[in-house]
């Protein structure tokens, strides 16, 4: 199990136990975390799973995947250096405790 904290735009925190190997997007969907839509199921085609990785974790989540930059351009909310598509963040042991912040809008 990997612990992930989702911080909504209004500050509400949701903490869930995620399966290793799942993604930050899929975990949100499986646990009914509001604020992540993930409409294309992780194909990097909809930009509705946008999140901001907490500064303390950006080294561990690593760089954006190939093609992710382009698709982030399609996100509804402001894109920052910490922006990621949460479908592209795979959960490993090293990410136990991960904190991500959610944008106001996904669509």
């Amino acid at each position: 199990m990997v612990k992930v904290t989702y911080v909504a735009a209004d500050g509400t925190e949701t903490i869930v136990d995620a399966d290793e190997g799942s993604t930050v997007m899929q975990t949100a969907l499986d646990n009914s975390v509001d604020g992540i839509v993930g409409e294309c199921g992780g194909a990097m085609m909809c930009a509705t799973c946008h999140c901001y990785v907490d500064d303390a974790w950006s080294d561990k989540t690593g760089p954006r995947q190939d093609g992710e930059d382009d698709m982030l351009e399609c996100a509804a909310d402001a894109v920052k250096p910490s922006s990621r598509l949460s479908c592209q963040i795979k959960l490993t042991d090293a990410l136990d405790g991960l904190v991500v912040h959610l944008p106001q809008d996904q669509v």
Binding site: L29, E39, G41, A43, M45, C46, G67, C74, A76, V107
Partner: protein, 391 residues
């Protein structure tokens, strides 16, 4: 494992007239079923349709032998997989982003909507489907695509003729003659605009594609434009008509939507309730299994998102238009690599601009006879008329 059961009762006619009771029975009794009359295996449960679309390695879009190829004069991105698909898709995707809409288009869309609405008068009874839903969708798309000079009539006709051609599974030569003519007209129109877009780069899809540093071949630029014409008019038109119908037949919900300005939720519920694109096909690349049945390599499965959107596993009271749902995980825009390229546009134009503007201008609009509204379609579905009294 056994093969999927075979249904020999259901045919295109019933599915075109009223598919929903059929899908409800299928979800209950035969969620995976070979439909003889359509020569396809129907998948009616949300988990199955989603899995198929999310697993392109096994369920391919790449099927060059459909009527789409002659209808579009190209093997289009909708029928490709993998890197080739992504490259063609991303060549136009940037024209469809929320940022581009906000920065370049939102005011133009508002003005277009107002202009068409201002032609209508309070007290009149008009067919909104014909007067508003179609033409406004077409006019907006001219701007998004950079097709300056194309008329509403041309855009709507091209769109319909492409769709009819792509659905010409009977290979009727007369239908292909019609798409040939439409293709000649479109190719000529695109060709006449290329210099203009090269000289005046802008945020439209055609401009982005012709001015790209590393452009895709002209044949594929043209094909992409046609996919966007085929997919970018009828769907917003049908979504809009469906949502207006839903709201006008449920005045309490309309009142609440107005009070909360929940137009976005009304949009989501409209496309869930009657998905403008109801079904999509995928080619099975390897022997596999779905829902306890063997699905052989070479089979074509139909993912019926219309049915997935009413699946009892996900939706309570799914047969009805219920705007205020806790969650609305519909698949009206598909899923996986072919997830609708225009989803952000549709949400913003129809949901945030067209529908609120209409109800704003005619706050006491009524649908005097809901039974007069006729619904049609198997692959694509929506009302085909919407006679409304404006007030």
């Amino acid at each position: 494992m056994p093969l999927a059961p075979v249904n020999t009762d259901v045919g295109m006619n019933q599915l075109t007239r009223d598919p929903y009771p059929i899908y409800r029975r299928m979800r209950r009794d035969t969620p995976v079923v070979r439909v003889e009359g359509v020569k396809r295996t129907f998948l009616t449960k949300a988990a199955h349709t989603k899995r198929v679309k999310d697993t392109p390695e096994l369920f391919s879009s790449n099927d060059p032998n459909t009527p789409m190829q002659p209808a579009f004069r190209a093997h289009t991105l909708m029928r490709k997989d993998g890197d080739e698909h992504r490259r063609e898709r991303m060549a136009m995707q940037m024209a469809y982003t929320p940022k581009v809409i906000k920065a370049n288009w939102a005011q133009i869309y508002r003005d277009i909507t107002d202009e068409y609405l201002s032609r209508l008068k309070k007290g009149d009874t008009v067919d909104l489907f014909r007067e508003i839903c179609g033409p406004v969708s077409a006019r907006i798309l001219v701007h998004i695509l950079g097709l300056d000079g194309a008329t509403d009539e041309q855009m709507m006709r091209w769109s319909q003729e492409l769709i009819d051609g792509a659905g010409n599974f009977g290979w009727d030569p007369e239908l292909f003659r019609i798409t040939e003519r439409a293709n000649d007209e479109m190719d000529a129109h695109f060709g006449s605009l290329i210099d203009h877009h090269k000289a005046n780069p802008n945020a439209s899809a055609l401009s982005l594609m012709v001015n790209a540093e590393n452009p895709i071949p002209d044949s594929q630029i043209y094909a992409n434009m046609k996919i966007a014409i085929g997919g970018g008019i009828n769907e917003p038109r049908d979504a809009m008509a469906t949502i207006i119908y839903g709201l006008l037949t449920s005045p309490e919900q309309l009142e609440e939507v107005r009070r909360q300005e929940a137009w976005g939720m009304a949009f989501e519920e409209g496309v869930r309730w009657v998905a403008p694109i109801q079904a999509s096909s995928r080619l099975v690349l390897e022997d596999t299994e779905i829902g306890g049945f063997d699905i052989p390599k070479g089979d074509t499965v139909m993912t019926i998102q219309a049915s997935a959107n009413r699946d009892e596993d996900l939706f309570e009271d799914g047969e009805n238009f219920v705007v205020f749902r806790d969650k609305n995980p519909h698949q009206a825009f598909g899923s996986g690599p072919h997830h609708c390229a225009g989803a952000h546009i549709a949400r913003r134009t129809v949901g945030e601009i067209m529908i609120p503007a209409l109800f704003d201008r005619f706050p006491n609009m009524r649908l005097p006879d809901p039974d007069a509204v006729r619904w049609r379609g198997f692959g694509f579905r929506g009302p085909v008329n919407l006679p409304v009294s404006l007030n």
